[in-house]
Symmetry: C2
Subunit: 397 residues, 2 copies
C-alpha cells in the first residue's frame, strides 16, 4: 500500500541567472512533499532526480494504483528514507517535461514556445532553483540532499554551492564528471534526435510533429548503458523472440485458431529488419514507450547538463581542491557492475573528500544490475541507506 | 615502403545455397593475393575481414601511397605474416560494398538492384563462398586461416565446416557468439538506418538518396564500442574542441586575419547542438566519413551475420561439442581492454578446444586500445603472431 502523493506548483517571477550568462524568469517548479516538516524545520530531505525522472519520487496519485514514484522502494513511511521521520521534497528540474517550466512552454516575453531556445541549464543552475524553492518553503538547512546518477551530481553540487545549507549528502551511483565515453554516448543520442527530420531545429512543436525516431534511438542507447552485460545475458541472452505462428501456413494454428506462441527452439527468421532476438524486442519497446512521453529538447538539455558538470574544472582539474568547500557529511554508494558510473568514479569523490578530512561513508554494493541498480531493491543497499538516515535522525533528536 | 596490391575478380555462375534456404548465383568475389603459392600448394593463408574491411588486406594500390590495406602492419614481406614465405589471400565477402556482389548490384533475374532483397548471408555462407574461391585457385588445404573480430568468427567456422582444409586457425579478438549487449548495439545501429526516411525500406538507390543520418549514428555507436574507456579518456578526455575565433568579434583575429585556433582553456559554449567536446568532433567526423562510402544494406547484413553466428546453437549451447569437429591447431589472441569481444569470450573458445584435446595457443595481450587493438601495432601482439607463423612454416619445410 502506497500513500497518496499530490503534485504542487510554485511560480517564480524573478529572473534566475544561469551559468551560461542567460537567465530565466517567470518559471514554474513542480514538486511534491511527503511527511511533515518538524517544528525547528530541521528534518527536510531534498531528492534530486536523474535524466527521465521527476518530482514524483514516492507514493501514488489518487486513483492511479500503478503510478508509484520512481524511488518509492526507498522513500515512504517506514522505508529507508522514512517519511514518518523526515520531510521529503521531490522537485522537477527546470527544462524537464514533467511539470516544471521546459522547452514546451511559452517564453514569457514572446508567448512563443521556447523549443530549442530554452536556455541551457546546468547542475549548478538546478541547485540554485532548488535553493529558491527551499526559501519559499521556509527551509534554511537540509538534513540531507539525496540523489542517484545525475541526481547525485546535484547532491554533490549542493555541498559546494550552499555548504551551510546541507548537513548530509547522499550521492548514489554518480561521478565527479563524465568520461569521454559517457559524453560520447550522450552525443550519439543527441545526434539521433537533432538529425531526425521531424526535429526541425528544435521547433517541431509548431510543425505538429515529434522527432520520435531520434528519441527511440536515444532511449535504446541509454538502456544499453543502464544495464550490465551480465544482467542482459541473464534476462535476454540470445533468446529468440516468441513467435506468433502464421495461421495461413501452420497446420497447428489451423487446428487452434488462437495465435500460438512458439518458443525459441525454432529457426532463425533470417531477416535484417524483423525482430529476431528478445533483446531487440525489449529495446524497441523501451524506445517506443519513451518517444511517446519524453520531450526531445529536454533530452538534449539534460544530457548536456550531465556533460558540463565538472566541479574540478575551475580548480585545474583538482577534485580535492574543488571539494574543499564542502562541509557536509557524506554517504557515497556505488554498484560493482555499473559501467556507466563505475565504482572507480565514486571512489574519486571519496578520496577527494578524505583528502579534505571530511566525514565520508562509502558502500560498494555487489549488485548485478549495472547502473539501474540504484533504482532497484537490494537488501544491502537499502540497509546502508536506512542506517545512514537513522544516524541523521539521531543528530536531529 | 609497401608493395603494390592488385584487386582481382572471379565470377561464380553456379548457385550458392545459403543457410537461410535462399541461394545466390552469378555473383562475383573480389580478392587479392600477396606472395607466391609454393609448388605443393601448401603455403596458402586466407585472411577473413570484419565489418567494414575488405579484400584489400595489405600493400597499396599503384599511385595511391596512402591506400594501405587494413592489416598492412601485420601482413607483407618480412612482416608477422611474411608474404615472402606465405601466399596470402584476402577476399571481400558477399553482401559487402567493396567489390564482391552486394545489395547495390543488380539481381541476375530481374536486372534490378538487390537493395533490401539481397539475401541474408551468414558467417557459414561466407566460408562456403571462400571455399569455392579456393577451389578455383587450386588450393585444397590452407596453411592457416586468419581473422580478427567477425573475421575471427569466419576463421573458427572454417575449422568446423572444412576441418580437413585448414591446418591452423588464428582467431583474434573474437567470440563464439555475440552477447545480448553486442546484439543490442547492433540493433540500435540497424534501427537508426532503417528508420532514416532516406532508407526507403532498403530501396533507396532508386530514390537517388542515401540514409546518411542512420549510417552516421551507426558508425558513432560502433566507434564507441571499438575503443576502451581508458583510451578515450587518454585521447580525448574532457578536452574542449579547438575553436576558431570569430573575426567579427575578436580583436586578436583582426590583427591576424588567418583563423586563430584557441585552446580549450576557453569557456563552455553552452549549446546543446554545437560541438563542445573533442570526442564529439571525433565521432561526428567518423560518422560523416563512413556515411560517404559504406552501404546501408551492407551494414544491416554484416551486423546480422555477427548476430547469427553461434556454432554451439546446433548443440544445445554446448561449445565443446560444437568444436569437436575442428582438427586444426589454433592460436587465439585477445586484448585486456576489449569490452566488445572481451578476453573472457576468447577463453570460452580456448576451453572448448582444450576440452576436445586440441592443440591451442592463447595470448591475452595487455593493450589499452580496446577492440581496435587487433588492428594496431603492438610489439607483443605482432611477436606472438610472428612466432606462430614461424612454427607454421617449419611444418611446411
Amino acid at each position: 500500500m502506497s500513500f497518496i502523493a499530490t503534485p504542487q506548483f510554485l511560480h517564480f517571477p524573478e529572473a534566475l541567472p544561469l551559468q551560461s550568462g542567460a537567465s530565466i524568469r517567470d518559471y514554474q517548479l513542480a514538486f511534491e512533499t511527503y511527511g511533515q516538516l518538524n517544528a525547528d524545520r530541521s528534518n527536510a530531505v531534498l531528492v534530486c532526480h536523474a535524466l527521465n525522472a521527476s518530482h514524483h519520487v514516492a507514493g501514488v496519485y489518487a486513483g492511479q494504483d500503478k503510478s508509484e514514484g520512481w524511488w518509492n522502494n526507498m522513500i515512504g513511511p517506514g522505508k529507508s528514507v522514512d517519511t514518518n521521520r523526515f520531510f521529503v521534497i521531490g522537485v522537477n528540474n527546470l527544462g524537464s517535461c514533467f511539470g516544471s517550466t521546459g522547452p514546451m512552454h511559452p517564453h514569457p516575453d514572446t508567448g512563443q514556445v521556447y523549443g530549442a531556445d530554452f536556455p541551457v541549464v546546468t547542475v549548478e543552475d538546478w541547485v540554485n532553483a532548488q535553493a529558491r524553492l527551499l526559501d519559499r518553503l521556509g527551509i534554511t538547512q537540509l538534513a540531507a540532499v539525496l540523489g542517484g546518477s545525475l541526481g547525485g551530481m546535484q547532491a554533490l553540487s549542493w555541498t559546494l554551492q550552499y555548504p551551510e545549507r546541507v548537513r548530509h549528502a547522499v550521492v548514489v551511483a554518480s561521478a565527479p564528471n563524465l568520461t569521454a565515453e559517457n559524453i560520447a554516448f550522450n552525443e550519439v543520442a543527441r545526434r539521433a534526435i537533432v538529425t531526425d527530420p521531424d526535429f526541425h531545429g528544435g521547433h517541431f512543436y509548431q510543425h505538429g510533429v515529434i522527432p520520435k525516431r531520434g528519441l527511440r534511438i536515444a532511449r535504446m542507447i541509454g538502456h544499453i548503458t543502464y544495464l550490465s552485460d551480465d544482467v542482459m545475458n541473464e534476462k535476454f541472452g540470445r533468446q529468440l523472440r516468441q513467435r506468433v505462428m502464421d495461421k495461413t501456413t501452420s497446420e497447428g494454428a489451423a487446428a487452434n485458431p488462437a495465435p500460438v506462441p512458439t518458443q525459441g527452439a525454432g529457426a532463425y527468421l533470417y531477416s535484417t529488419q524483423d525482430i529476431e532476438f528478445q533483446i531487440e524486442s525489449y529495446l524497441r519497446y523501451q524506445g517506443d514507450k519513451f518517444s511517446e512521453y519524453f520531450d526531445a529538447n529536454t533530452y538534449l538539455l539534460i544530457t548536456r547538463a550531465l556533460d558540463y558538470f565538472d566541479p574540478a574544472r575551475a580548480h585545474g582539474g583538482n577534485l580535492t581542491q574543488a571539494l574543499a568547500r564542502a562541509t557536509a557529511k557524506f554517504l557515497l554508494v556505488s554498484f560493482t557492475t555499473d559501467w556507466r558510473f563505475s565504482p572507480k568514479r565514486s571512489r574519486e569523490i571519496v578520496k577527494a573528500l578524505l583528502d579534505n578530512r571530511r566525514d565520508v561513508s562509502y558502500a560498494e554494493i555487489d549488485a548485478p544490475h549495472g547502473h539501474d541498480a540504484f533504482l532497484l531493491d537490494d537488501a544491502r543497499y537499502m540497509g546502508v541507506v536506512s542506517s545512514y538516515f537513522d544516524s541523521i535522525e539521531k543528530e536531529l533528536a
